[in-house]
């Protein structure tokens, strides 16, 4: 639960959330619902989930700038393993 | 459904063989993966039997296509030989009749079914010239017209082949 604090803090601070980029180790959830909710709360709207190299690759669009990010989630723990900008 | 002409059959069979091969390879891959995953079961045994059947079907398809191609090529070769032989027969007969070079050309074109106007256009001559040449050709051949001219060679090819009861048709 501790890892979710930074995200909820950002959410609480600003209604129109500026994008707080998840860092490696942040727990987003082990189901698409929880991960989508967590990412949306952080300011990134999820486009798709795909299997990639044993992880879940979440593609989301930053609501504020429209930039697309690839967030890799460990399906067992729900934690972020890699963050990449989609080029 | 109209049966495929002999020209089209190899192509159709080749397409079919490719589809068979795709099915076989995909199925064998899947069955092999199941086998290696260690899930031995009635289901797996069934899969392997199907895979075997598909492979046999594919082998059979290869044999059939091979045979079809060979038959077609044999036919083409025979046809080419026949064509060549016929051309030789015609050429020899023209020589026999003593046709001039121009008459030989006109004679071939007439046998191919071109009419006077077409022959004239092809050779760049007047229709009257062609008509005169044809008359000379028929005279040398001892025939009364174009139909008999063509019949000369048809009869030659038929040999004893045509079974017509001429006597009763009097």
């Amino acid at each position: 639960m501790k890892a979710l604090l930074p995200l909820t803090f950002a959410l609480a601070l600003s209604p129109l959330a500026a994008f707080a980029l998840p860092v490696v180790g942040d727990v987003l959830g082990t189901t698409p619902e929880t991960a989508t909710a967590a990412l949306e709360a952080a300011g990134c709207k999820v486009n798709s989930f795909e299997p990639e190299d044993g992880k879940i690759e979440a593609k989301c669009t930053e609501t504020a700038t429209g930039k697309i990010w690839e967030i890799y989630i460990d399906p067992k723990t729900g934690a972020v393993s890699k963050v990449k900008a989609d080029d | 459904m109209k049966p495929l002409g002999p020209r089209r059959r190899p192509i159709a069979w080749a397409i079919f063989l490719i589809v068979q091969t795709l099915a076989t390879v995909f199925f064998v891959g899947d069955a092999a993966a199941d086998y290696l995953a260690g899930q031995i079961s009635a289901h797996l045994v069934f899969e392997m039997l199907v895979a075997l059947a598909l492979a046999l079907g594919m082998a059979f398809g290869v044999m059939v296509l091979r045979q079809t191609l060979e038959e077609m090529r044999a036919q083409d070769a025979a046809l080419a030989t026949a064509r060549g032989a016929l051309a030789d027969v015609i050429a020899a007969q023209f020589t026999d009749w003593g046709l001039t070079p121009a008459e030989r050309d006109v004679g071939f074109l007439a046998l191919k079914g071109l009419d006077v106007a077409e022959i004239a256009e092809l050779r760049g001559r007047a229709a009257g010239t062609v008509r005169a040449q044809l008359t000379r050709i028929y005279a040398k051949a001892g025939v009364s017209g174009r139909a008999q001219f063509a019949a000369w060679f048809v009869e030659d090819l038929l040999g004893e082949g045509l079974d017509v009861d001429v006597a009763t048709r009097e």
Binding site: T30, T31, P32, E33, F49, E50, P51, E52, D53, G54, K55, I56, D74, P75, K76 | R7, P10, I11, W13, A14, I15, L17, I18, T21, L22, T24, V25, F26, G29, D30, A32, A33, D34, L36, V62, M63, L65, R66, L69, E70, M72, R73, D76, L79, A80, R83, G84, A87, I90, A91, P101, R104, D105, F108, L109, K112
Partner: protein, 214 residues
């Protein structure tokens, strides 16, 4: 004296190859699959893998055909011969080279080179995606349904990680790029030879030559 007869009858023994339908379909099929996977499909995706399997099936078929097919399709008709290939290329420069009923020696080398690279490409692809053509599709379908547990192996390691994965990926990429270069060379070669020797080498690979060998 013009003998119109011989100019109208089918020309004897035009020694250009007469490729059978299966050979032609395999040729263009493999080319299409490789091009699609190089340029259009998502790497590692289910479509990419399915097309790769199709290419593998076509290559396998061509391999079988090289042993039991019609004469010009058999490997025995165009054995690899680097010296002969060089001589052939030299002949091209002089504008004079013999006609072959099957691949000419240079074309033969190109065919074997391409097939070797294709084999490497497909084997490395298999190594990465596994023995079942449907595994990736099943995975994608499960994740699309919302089931992430399929990615979790029982012993705790996430599925899909392989120690050889990186090496296989590298070799796969190198093979793909090599094939692209060879393919461009191949197209250029066909064009150059057709021009230099005034022969249409593309036609036999494209259409059935009627009334010839078929």
């Amino acid at each position: 004296m013009t003998d119109l007869a011989s100019s109208r009858l089918p020309r004897k023994g035009q020694a250009l190859p007469s490729w059978d339908p299966l050979l032609r379909l395999a040729h263009w099929g493999i080319a299409g699959v490789v091009l699609a996977n190089y340029a259009f499909t998502k790497e590692g995706g289910s479509v990419h893998i399915a097309l790769g399997w199709a290419g593998m099936a076509l290559l396998l078929l061509r391999l079988i055909w090289g042993f039991v097919g019609p004469r010009e399709a058999r490997f025995a008709s165009f054995p690899p011969n680097p010296m002969a290939a060089l001589r052939h290329l030299g002949g091209l420069l002089r504008g004079k080279a013999p006609q072959y009923p099957s691949h000419n020696p240079a074309g033969a080398l190109m065919a074997y080179a391409l097939w070797a690279c294709l084999a490497v490409l497909m084997l490395t692809g298999l190594g990465m995606s596994g023995l079942s053509p449907f595994a990736r599709a099943d995975l994608e379908a499960a994740v699309a349904e919302g089931d992430w547990s399929v990615l979790v192996e029982e012993d705790g390691d996430a599925e899909g990680e392989s120690p050889y994965g990186d090496v296989l990926e590298e070799v796969h990429e190198v093979a793909a790029n090599l094939i692209l270069i060879l393919a461009l060379l191949h197209v250029a070669g066909v064009a150059v030879e057709s021009r230099a020797l005034r022969r249409n080498l593309l036609a036999p690979m494209l259409i059935t030559r009627r009334g010839r060998k078929g």
